[in-house]
């Protein structure tokens, strides 16, 4: 079993459902043992990057919340979809109509949003009103070449008070209404994982992804040539273990167990 982890030089950690469960009064609760596990990774000399699809806050705000929960994390250790989307928008001279959470808006402050020629959709949560989704729909259907950029394609995530619909569901609604296919800039897009690996300076076979999402974390990372572990926290459901396409390299109860497994071989 231990042989499986040989050659590991870096860990990529999903955040929501792995480090903490989001939602509720304080913005969430840490998952037991995860803060200690992050400290152990850093002490071990392994490289570390946080790969999140969360788009409900700027990275600054997001990192501050996690620091408050006791995590050793800084903004420059985080790979997130909003900055990736901004790169794409600039490269292709796209001016977005934004359907995103209020708190992630500042990430797009420098982007020209006049006379939109595309729609960017993120996890807008309560901003997903009928009126707002309809407005995004009207922009898209009015374009000669409709471009829909989605900050992820997650189905749902777990908050402290239960499961919540994620951006993927609303992306599908717009795809169907306008007969377009969205371009994903978060997980499981290959480009997203590759940019995290480049930041770390490691090859895919040297890295292990740890996540609670069988498709977007585990499947996405494996498609890039990485190994991937699914934790039984967050949105994990027992039926994930019978997934027809994706088989993680290991299941673990939580991040603490994942780190123990991987550090044992060093």
């Amino acid at each position: 079993m231990a042989a499986r982890w040989r050659g590991t030089r870096a860990l990529l950690l999903d955040v929501s459902g792995v480090l903490y469960d989001s939602g509720g009064e304080g913005g969430g609760v840490p998952i037991a043992g995860s803060a200690e596990a992050v400290r152990k990774i850093k002490a071990s000399g392994l490289k570390l990057r946080f790969c999140t699809n969360e788009t409900q806050a700027t990275r600054e705000k997001f990192v501050k919340k996690l620091q408050g929960f006791g995590f050793d994390i800084s903004v420059d250790e985080v790979t997130a979809p909003a900055p990736a989307a901004c790169r794409v928008l600039r490269e292709r001279s796209l001016r977005p109509h934004l359907l995103v959470h209020d708190d992630v808006m500042p990430e797009f402050a420098e982007i020209d949003k006049t006379n939109p020629n595309c729609v960017v959709i993120g996890d807008a949560a309560d901003n997903f009103t009928y009126a707002n989704l309809n407005e995004a729909f009207r922009v898209l259907i009015g374009l000669e070449n409709p471009v829909l950029i989605s900050l992820g394609r997650g189905r749902y995530y777990k908050e402290t008070d239960g499961l919540k619909l994620d951006v993927g569901a609303y992306m599908k609604a717009l795809e169907y209404a306008c007969d377009v296919q969205a371009e994903i800039v978060g997980k499981p897009a290959k480009m997203f994982f590759e940019s995290a690996l480049a930041e770390l300076g490691v090859e895919p076979h040297q890295a292990v992804m740890v996540g609670d999402d069988i498709v977007n974390d585990v499947g996405g990372a494996q498609q890039c040539g990485m190994r991937a572990v699914q934790v039984r926290t967050g949105k994990y459901r027992p039926s994930d273990e019978k997934h027809p396409q994706v088989k993680p390299d290991a299941y673990v109860d939580n991040l603490a167990e994942a780190v123990e497994l991987i550090l044992r071989q060093l």
Copy 2:
């Protein structure tokens, strides 16, 4: 050309986008010439049925609005998705969680809704808040055998102030989030057209459908063996005429022209 309409004994008319454009202060505006066209059909001896996917009101309220616009229409001439859904729910002992427009709720008054074992989704319009869609999602994802019944699968419709997202977009969101396939009880479901034909006592080849929706009206009716005409009113878009799968038996500018064409051969 006239030969195409030989043997016609009945007309099935879509309502929104054919008789009137919905929305705005008075609930919509009639399309010029349509009220007169309905009278001509009735005077001609052709059988007539109104086939609507509208689920924003009870049939009673809906018919009253159309009568106010000057249409000769009564409740027992209307085939609509909500009563069709009630039949399915009763036959299969299903207890729905309803995500529908407030005004269509009375159609489900007699249905047991305690301890839901399925979700019924209609065109809920402003009721499609994030909280409401999430509630329906949680019911579905919590069922061992999730059943999603949709009162149509339209992408969008046209109101007086512009295009509006229809139930199909939200159906797709739930399908994706829960990995289920919805059962459609409105157009273009075969059962829906067949029940309208049974009410009229005619065979499919004796009936002509008139609608503004290339897929749900025209395609659905043709799949049942009926002929179908697309009107260039309502949500019609020029790109419909290049639809890769569906070719109407004729295009007409509006219902008045359709009726003129068909009556000419009688």
